[in-house]
Symmetry: C2
Subunit: 152 residues, 2 copies
Amino acid sequence: MSPPFPLPAPMRRALDLASAAECAGEVPVGAVVTRDGQIVGEGENRNRRDCDPTAHAEIVAMRAAAARLGDFRLTGCDLWVTLEPCPMCAGAISHARIARLFYGASDAKGGAIEQGPRLFTQPQCLHRPEVYGGIGETEASTLLKDFFAARR
Amino acid sequence: MSPPFPLPAPMRRALDLASAAECAGEVPVGAVVTRDGQIVGEGENRNRRDCDPTAHAEIVAMRAAAARLGDFRLTGCDLWVTLEPCPMCAGAISHARIARLFYGASDAKGGAIEQGPRLFTQPQCLHRPEVYGGIGETEASTLLKDFFAARR
C-alpha cells in the first residue's frame, strides 16, 4: 500500500542505501543525517565488510556527519533510518544530540525506541529526540523480510 | 583503599589509557579487549579529538580488536573498561558477542549494566556476557571525580 504522501527525500535515500547494503550481503538498513534539509552524512550496514560490530547504518551515518561538521555533537540535525534503532544506536543518537529521529519499520526483536528498553523514556536518558516512526515502513520491512527469507 | 589482590594487567592498562584520555582533555575512560589473556584491541575516549559521538573507550577498543581479528564478532574475547558501560556501549558489547565484561567504577548517571535499563537483563537481549564490576573501581572513580571537579 502506498503512503498518502510522497516519501521525504532523505528516507528515499536511506531506502536506496538499504538496498545497496543488501547487494553487498549486509542486513538491508540505511540511514542519513540531515541539517537544514541537506544530507550531511549517510551510511548503510557495514558489519561484515568492515569487520566492525558497531557498523550499523545509523552509527556509520552519524560518524560521517560528525566528521564532516567537525563536531562530536550533531545538535540540530535529524536522523532518517529505515529500521527502528537498537539500544546501541539509540544510545548513540542520544549522545549525538540528534533533534529528530525518523524511522521506517518497527523492530519487535531488536528495537529500543518503542520496544524493549524504550531508551528515550528511561529517567537516565539525557537527550531525547522527537520521534516519528512508520515512514517508508512498507518498503523498509519488505527489504528486510526478503533478505532474511532468502537466507533461511 | 587498596584491593586485596593485584589489579589484573588488562585493567591496569585500561586505567593507563583513561589517564591518557584525561591528558588529552577527554573524559578519562579506558578499555581493552583481550583474547586468551592477550590484548587484541585498546581504546580511550576520543569524542572530542575525533569529532565522533560514538568514540567511547569501549567502542574504540572493540572496533580495533574486530579489525585486527578480521571478524565483526569478538566471540571468546573479554572487555575490560574503567567505567560501567552506557546503553550505546552495552548494546555494542552484546552485538560483538563479548564473553566477559570486567568494569571498574559504577555509573549511577549513565550506566546501563546495573543501573537504568539494565540492558543485559532485557528479554530482547540476544547475548549477555558474564559481568564482573568493581575491578579497579577506586582508581577509576578518582580519575573521573578529579576530571569533573577541575572543570566545575
